[in-house]
Amino acid sequence: MANTVLHKADTRGFADHGWLKSYHTFSFAGYYEPSRIHFGALRVLNDDSVAGGGGFGKHPHDNMEIISIPLEGALEHQDSMSNVATIKNGDIQVMSAGTGVQHSEYNKNTDEHVKFLQIWVFPNKRNVEPRYDQVTLNPADRHNQLQQVLSPNADDAGVWIHQNAWFHLADFDKSISTEYKIKGAGNGVYVFILKGDVKVNDQLLNTRDGYGIWDVDGFSITAESDAEFLLMEVPMEFKY
């Protein structure tokens, strides 16, 4: 029997640092809610808005797969592996922090906000060699179909991470429906609605709602309006 968890958009944690406004689906920084620590290997889902010219100064990470998906604007990335890059709407960025990496992310534009999703997934092994990658996605490839943007495989579509996880983006017209089949045994899927209204099986979800579903082989997704959403399939039990 399916297990599910619903996180309505207005129940998320919120932090206002002036230059950064962030909604936290799961406990993060000053927001602590014991019932909302993680969904399987998915540990962080932050819905961030960075003011023009603002950003995250140089800071370290270790042992985490960190994925960024810009929704509006552009972020300038620099890291201790000598990468300097810009990510913008339509791109996906991944960083395996492993043994340790330092990076900064700044809003390149002084006159507009950058909005992006910051997603952290527990890795399936500790202390891997740090790595960085980014990929530009074709938005046409997610119109009325699921577009794979992340997998565990370096030779598969999108970016890859050190975890048995698959992410898909979608941009559905109203009434478009599809079936999602779980790829990894024991995995669950966390659905995050970027815009619009979507039904997962019989559960109606609205903009910025989150919905986890596990102990299933698959489920149906139907757009109740024009809608954009992200599916994050992750192991529900994991060790490394």
Partner: protein
Amino acid sequence: MEKVQILVLCNNAEILPIVMRLIDTNPDWQATGAADEEQGLSLFNQRPFDLVLLGSGMDQATEHRLTPVCIAINPEVKFVQHYGGGSGLLKAEILGALG
């Protein structure tokens, strides 16, 4: 009330002081840092910490070696693996471990 004593084991020289500083911002917590297993055990023998936070570079083998030694000194000690190397998860990890 005595502060919760937290031993931070982390061999990443950039991450260790950040984690310690973040812990010390909580008035109820006090961090002591160790850069390796040997130093960590030496500190634990001097003072029975309430919680051991295993950070960057500490693998599962280290954890398995440390756990029985520390528990023999303080049966109530909690262990928690720290992920991410900064402020994001630290509070939840410590509060979750302390119960």
